[in-house]
């Protein structure tokens, strides 16, 4: 298992809550999307109050989806376009 870096993007309400549009995480080897969400909720406690969605490589993912090195991850609240 080697260290890997993951870039996480934020949009809308999550960007306002964390005060930035991207965050770099360092993780050990492959991780689940759920463990990334847990780490972000620890770093940014205000995220814990939100119902969050996660995408991997611009596709909706579930918390047991596996994140690989270099994947583009995004965290956001329920969408509200239209």
């Amino acid at each position: 298992m080697s260290d890997m870096r993951i870039n996480v993007l934020f949009f809308g309400a999550t960007a306002d809550i964390v005060g930035k549009r991207r965050e770099e995480l360092e993780v050990d080897g492959e991780v689940s999307a759920g463990s990334i969400l847990d780490e972000l909720r620890t770093r940014f406690p205000y995220l814990a109050a939100q119902k969050l969605h996660i995408s991997i490589e611009q596709e909706y993912a579930s918390s047991d989806s596996i994140v690989k090195a270099g994947d583009e991850i995004a965290i956001f609240t329920s969408v509200s376009g239209g």
């Binding site: 611009q58 376009g81 239209g82």
Partner: protein
């Protein structure tokens, strides 16, 4: 030809409707969604000054293209156009246009309704409502 687009410019509704029309079609149904000033929430009337939309652009375009493809599988329609504006939208300005061309209108109406419902549920675009005394990210259809 289907057409999915995000733009920060005002949307020309008629142009979106026209560009999806092939020769076998007899009807195009177009939804023109625009910014509403008054919204009733919990029996209280809220006045919006303007809206700001933000998109996860690459993913939003992918999701819009998926919706267009699925609509063509499930409904007897020929072409779909979906254009969503981002950035600041004044009251009355168009935020989204969905045009569906079909041989017959019934299928176009049904597909257009399905498309806007799914767009509001799945396409990663967020709406911020700005009021005289504050602002809030909209919680979407599920919360309304």
């Amino acid at each position: 030809m289907d057409h999915c687009e995000l733009t920060t410019e005002p949307i020309n509704v008629g142009a979106v409707a026209r560009r999806v029309v092939p020769p076998e079609c007899g009807a195009t149904v177009t939804l023109d969604g625009y910014a509403r000033r008054f919204t009733t929430r919990d029996s209280k009337v809220i006045e919006t000054e303007y809206l700001v939309y933000e998109a996860y652009e690459e993913m939003a375009l992918k999701e819009m293209q998926k919706l267009a493809a699925k609509a063509k599988e499930d409904f007897a329609i020929s072409n779909v156009g979906i254009v969503h504006r981002t950035g600041k939208i004044e009251i009355g300005e168009t935020s989204v246009v969905i045009s569906v061309a079909a041989p017959h209108r019934k299928d176009a109406f049904a597909a257009c309704e399905w498309l806007i419902k799914e767009l509001k549920r799945t396409v990663p675009i967020w709406k911020k409502e700005i009021y005289a005394d504050g602002e809030a990210w909209s919680e979407g259809e599920a919360a309304e």
